[in-house]
Amino acid sequence: MAMASSEHETMLERIWRWVKQSWMSIAFFVGFFLFWEFSISLFNIPLYILTPPSMIVTKAWADLPRLVSYTYITALETILGYVVAIVIAMPLGLAIAFSSILRRTVYPFFVMIEMVPKIAFAPLFISWLGFGLLPKVIIVFLVCFFPIVLNAILAFSSLSEELQRFSRSTGAGVWRTFTKVRLPAALPQCFVGLKYAGLNATVGAAIAEFIGSDQGLGFYIQITTGNMRPELAFAGIFFLTGIGLVLFGIITLAEKLLIPWHISVRQAPA
């Protein structure tokens, strides 16, 4: 009992500390939405241009079934594209880092492709593969693949000279050196790519849906905007943001679990 109550207290204390630390960010956030809410009537903005946040909430609530089913579709495209990108890019990055042939052939090619805005391929993929799930997954994949693979190459080829020498001096084989030294040393840089790709994954999905689809949040945002229903377009944007937040949350959690020792995790901005 005593334990439970003390735990309860520390929980309260924790919340209180969080409020004390971040009240300014919270106040600014709340202030922003209040300003938005009242500026509509204050500046006489017509409702077909912009609606107050309160109206977004009520209208979104009325259209919730559609929003939820579209969120499911867009989330599916995002996650599939992202996961396939990880599954292909990580081993490929590793292979490129250790193969001089791949580093001279595939690597420069990838660096060049990285300059191309992948989104520009979206209309082509839609025309080749139609309106279905596949072209969207491919576009999310393209958006995510390059930052992941390029950061993985960097991660696996930048072990400090000192640690390389240390590993050689122990006589450890390739596999043991990899699992005990190379892989953990490479993880922080790998996460740089994974986070960057995670932030852009929903962008890829939304734009692919703008170009050609009959469902999903991108489609929803486009249609409702066309119908002069900005409140529903905003609802779509918020749900899209939600997908991005959940994805980023999962990556950040994985980072905390896998590299709790790294400075980016230890000194995360409050």
């Binding site: 000192e162 020498r165 240390f166 122990t170 006589g171 043991r176 030294v181 020792w261 790294h262 230890r266």
Partner: protein
């Protein structure tokens, strides 16, 4: 009697042709078992290069090195090395880092638990076994790195400026520890430094290395008794030897 470490006509040249840089040598030197020898010289004279070649981590351009009668042709796994930047990994605790040396050699860490504990005790780190490197001061990190280099009981120990990045007071303190530990088991130590006082305090022999390309100018026997405590360090012999070496380097235009 043959020496434990025999260096014959060793030299190192980086690059080839007109852009080749002659970094080091040629030099020959024999180091006896149980010796504490310092390579003392200005930065850039190839002290670290020499150490890496003894460890078999860098190929010699010419000449040869033999450890215990066997020629060095690749990485030597039965020696202990402390590199200029310590090789503590940030994802392991102090104990985990020492265990890493064992695990890399295929020795299960749990079979050496007590050995690691006593090693940590010998450098006063037993209360920090579960701390991570970033939680330690520079001096403590170097002590942990020392344990990492020593945990597999090497007969030959190579220390490349292990105290180079520490403040003067911490250096002084760790020198004393280092000497005490060396006196316990008397491994053969090759110690790279650019501090004259440090070399004289710690070593049984000091090899003076000239500026680039590094060559051995002379090997000085330090006949002072161990441990070289404050009393020995204040003696006229100690002070005289430090001044003598100082003058030699002054002659090279280094100091």
């Amino acid at each position: 009697m043959t020496s434990l470490i025999e260096i014959q006509g060793l030299s190192k040249t980086y690059g080839a042709g007109s852009s080749a840089v002659h970094a080091f040598g040629p030099m020959s030197l024999d180091i006896d078992e149980g010796e504490f020898i310092s390579f003392l010289g200005p930065s850039g004279c190839g002290k670290s290069t020499l150490m890496l070649m003894i460890a078999g981590l860098l190929e010699a351009s010419e000449g040869s090195i033999c450890l215990g009668g066997k020629e060095v042709l690749g990485p030597q796994t039965d020696i202990g090395i402390m590199f200029q930047d310590n090789t503590l990994v940030p994802w392991r605790s102090v104990r985990g880092n020492i265990d890493l040396q064992l695990e890399m050699r295929g020795i299960p860490a749990r079979t050496r638990r007590e050995h690691v504990t006593s090693l940590l005790k010998s450098v006063a780190l037993e209360d920090f076994a579960d701390r991570y490197p970033f939680e330690l001061s520079g001096g403590m990190q170097q002590r942990a790195a020392f344990c990492q280099a020593m945990v597999h009981d090497p007969k030959i120990v190579l220390l490349d400026e292990p105290l180079g990045k520490l403040d003067a007071m911490t250096r002084e303190h760790i020198r004393t520890d280092l000497q005490r530990l060396w006196m316990l088991t008397r491994p053969t130590v090759v110690f790279v430094t650019h501090s004259i006082e440090e070399a004289v305090q710690l070593s049984s022999k000091v090899a003076l290395i000239t500026p680039r390309p590094g060559k051995i100018a002379s090997v000085i026997d330090v006949g002072l008794p161990f441990p070289r405590n404050q009393k020995v360090k204040g003696s006229t012999e100690f002070v005289g030897l430090v001044r003598h070496i100082h003058e030699i380097f002054h002659g090279y235009g280094v100091i």
